[in-house]
Symmetry: C2
Subunit: 294 residues, 2 copies
């Protein structure tokens, strides 16, 4: 889809924070005709109707997909495969399929399991935007504005399908980039999946400490920000850890080794070594601040 071109009918399977925000963004941009939702229960879909996110919904995925130009998968990674299988009978010849999953290798594997191979009209995508909230009530139309969206097409990907998915995210205000599946999964393991595991782990550890009731009373802004991502959805993050297991294990191994080195520095009271690590971290983060804050 080039700018100005409109998706006549968009089907969203999994109308939560991400799927709902995309629908709102596309509506605001006048880039979509009808938005049809589907999900496993009617209650949140009714709320999505009331919020103006959807025009209608169908509980039967294949019926929701019928006649859609684009079908977007907005479910947690663990639900991609069954939902894709349930959508399949409703997909037309030319239907473009895309997703928003936080890991890409597992989504490609799911598509392969359902279709035998990644369909040429399936464009895997991952918007680098979100909040620790979830559900359609948390959706808002500017979530993707100025954010990056990573597409991971392969050499069989259909050019028109790719252009449609690019256009869709551009219309939502995002900057679209392309990358290989492996590079995506390795980078995101480091900048997103590992930090989530570390933050969940720290809060869980403190919650199990003997003075757990008191300890949070003395936490400050640093702790609040460090642990914000530990308020994220447990199911979504369980699925990310499982879906990006290999890359996450590699990141975990490297981090645990570093933590062993840091522990040795503290044990040896090696102030120079600690200061050098802290200085490198601060310099690096300060240099990249403009990226996160744009």
């Amino acid at each position: 889809m080039l700018s100005g071109v409109v998706i006549e009918r968009l089907c969203i399977a999994g109308v939560g924070l991400i799927g709902g925000s995309l629908a709102l963004a596309l509506r605001a941009a006048g880039a979509v005709g009808e938005v049809v939702g589907t999900g496993r229960r009617s209650e949140p879909l009714e709320r999505a109707l009331a919020l103006g996110v959807l025009d209608r919904y169908e509980l039967e995925p294949a019926r929701a997909a019928e006649g859609a130009d684009v079908v977007l998968l907005g479910v947690p990674l663990g639900a991609m495969r069954p939902v894709l299988a349930a959508l399949r009978p409703g997909l037309g010849e030319g239907t473009v399929i895309t997703d928003v999953g936080s890991a890409k290798g597992c989504v490609v594997a799911d598509a392969e399991a359902v279709f035998g191979a990644l369909p040429a009209r399936f464009v895997p995508a991952h918007p680098i935007a979100g909040t620790e909230k979830s559900g359609v009530e948390a959706a808002f139309p500017t979530l993707f504005r100025g954010r990056r969206v990573i597409l991971t097409p392969d050499r069989h990907t259909d050019g028109e399908a790719l252009a449609t998915v690019r256009g869709l995210w551009s219309a939502a205000g995002a900057e679209v980039v392309e990358m290989g599946v492996t590079a995506h999964d390795r980078m995101l393991a480091g900048t997103s999946h590992l930090p989530h595991l570390l933050a969940f782990g720290l809060v869980d550890m403190l919650a199990r400490s003997p003075d757990h009731d008191e300890i949070f009373q003395y936490a400050a802004g640093g702790f609040r920000d460090f642990t914000r991502i530990a308020s994220s959805d447990p199911v979504m993050w369980r699925d990310v850890c499982l879906g990006n297991r290999e890359a996450l294990l590699a990141a975990l191994a490297a981090y645990r080794e570093d933590l062993e080195r840091l522990t040795a520095m503290v044990a040896a009271a090696d102030g120079d070594a600690l200061e050098a690590v802290f200085r490198n971290a601060k310099r690096t983060r300060d240099r990249h601040l403009h990226i996160f804050e744009k």
Copy 2:
């Protein structure tokens, strides 16, 4: 100092973010007469004068302390001992001494090294407030408003000195609590010192990765917040790690053990166990959110 009573002359050794913010807060509250600064070089003290933080400064610590009702140590933990020794000749019989160090056991040890024992008029203190910025330019008068300040007096602490330090922080808008040195150092190791080490460590690790230039391009808001504390001052945090070494090593040991468990769960693709940890963390953090956000 009870509310309404004014500190005639306050001496601040180390006029940075914390010392400077306290001076501004006390001035705004009309709770201080003259504020005299001291430090290791004149340049930042001149800036503190220009910013209205100080009335005057003396490069010689003992001269700055002369005639002060309260002497406040605002230097990094590693500088507490030499600065205290340098201030000593200027301290009067009734001078109240206090500090703002992020760990308390090492400050008590510094005072013991300089005076033989913790003076009855030395009230160790730690404001649970700060930012990742440092220097007097970053100081602002509302930094402590609604925040907690922990005092760690012992059974020899002079009642009047304690009341003065309580009054000083109350005037700055803080809520004052008392606690034992060991409890303070253990709790803060968990909620502040360990998270700082984890965040510094993560950014340092990513900075050393082969795709370090690219990797930060794909970091989102979760990463920005998780690593905000990795933009903190390397010297201050080196000193905290050394100053609270024992408690930090205990927290590190517990955390590394948990990370081993989490790694095993990911390796075994044990989704139920991961989800249980994430759920406990989310529940705990959400329950305590009102504390961090007040």
